[in-house]
Amino acid sequence: MLVLTRKVNQSIIIGDDVEVVVLEVRGEQVRLGIRAPKDVTVHRKEIYEQIQEENRQAAKTRTEDVPE
């Protein structure tokens, strides 16, 4: 993993067109601004993982348990 040190208002560029800016650091929280093309989705990692896990649970649903 690439590790960089940044200060508030400094940013990193990923590829040609994705920019991540450090907006604010307050205690344990960091606010980031993300500038990316419209065809790039940006989400918190936790929600992705939660939906993956829910899909795995859903795939175990049995036909005999479906209500009439």
């Binding site: 989705t41 992705y48 939660q50 939906i51 899909n55 859903a58 795939a59 649903t61 049995r62 348990d65």
Partner: protein
């Protein structure tokens, strides 16, 4: 002349379909990237439930339902990126399904996933699972709390 293809599903046995029936989930469902072609099968006549049956994995199927059947006013916000990927303009017909989870043997604990709806372009049948970051859209939304176990059709 449309060609009919036969497919054997683990749950439903022999299923006949044509190319026009295939729903293409680009990138697959989260956690299931290898399956991108699905059929929509009715659960039973008169039932609001459908099954999204993977054509790549005969044993993989997801129970889905139109969220309007359980939730009023659910309208997941479609971002520009998703609309573009799905080729949806404002007046393109679309289908929205939510995935249903039923723990084995406990149908009363059925939940629908409002945070990960599946949106299907009704013309091209290209689809995608959206990620909705809204505290009002639960991943496990209980639907039978205020209804009897027997659903109104």
């Amino acid at each position: 002349m449309t060609t009919t293809t036969n497919f054997t599903s683990t749950r439903f046995g022999e299923v006949a379909y044509t190319d026009a029936d295939i729903v293409t989930l680009e990138g697959g469902l989260l956690g299931f990237p290898a399956s991108t072609s699905y059929l929509i099968l009715a659960h039973k006549e008169g039932s609001p439930f459908r099954w999204l049956q993977s054509l790549e994995e005969p044993g993989l199927a997801f129970l889905v339902v139109d969220p309007a059947h359980f939730v009023d006013g659910y309208a997941p916000l479609l971002g520009d990126e998703a609309a573009q990927a799905l080729g949806l303009s404002e007046d393109t017909p679309r289908l929205v399904y939510t995935i249903v989870t039923i723990p084995n043997g406990r149908p009363e604990e059925m939940t629908i996933n409002l945070a990960g709806p599946i949106v299907i372009n009704g013309v091209t049948r290209v689809a995608r699972q959206l990620v909705i970051e809204d505290p009002n859209c639960a991943i496990k939304h209980r639907v039978l709390e205020n209804k009897s176990k027997r659903l109104a059709a």
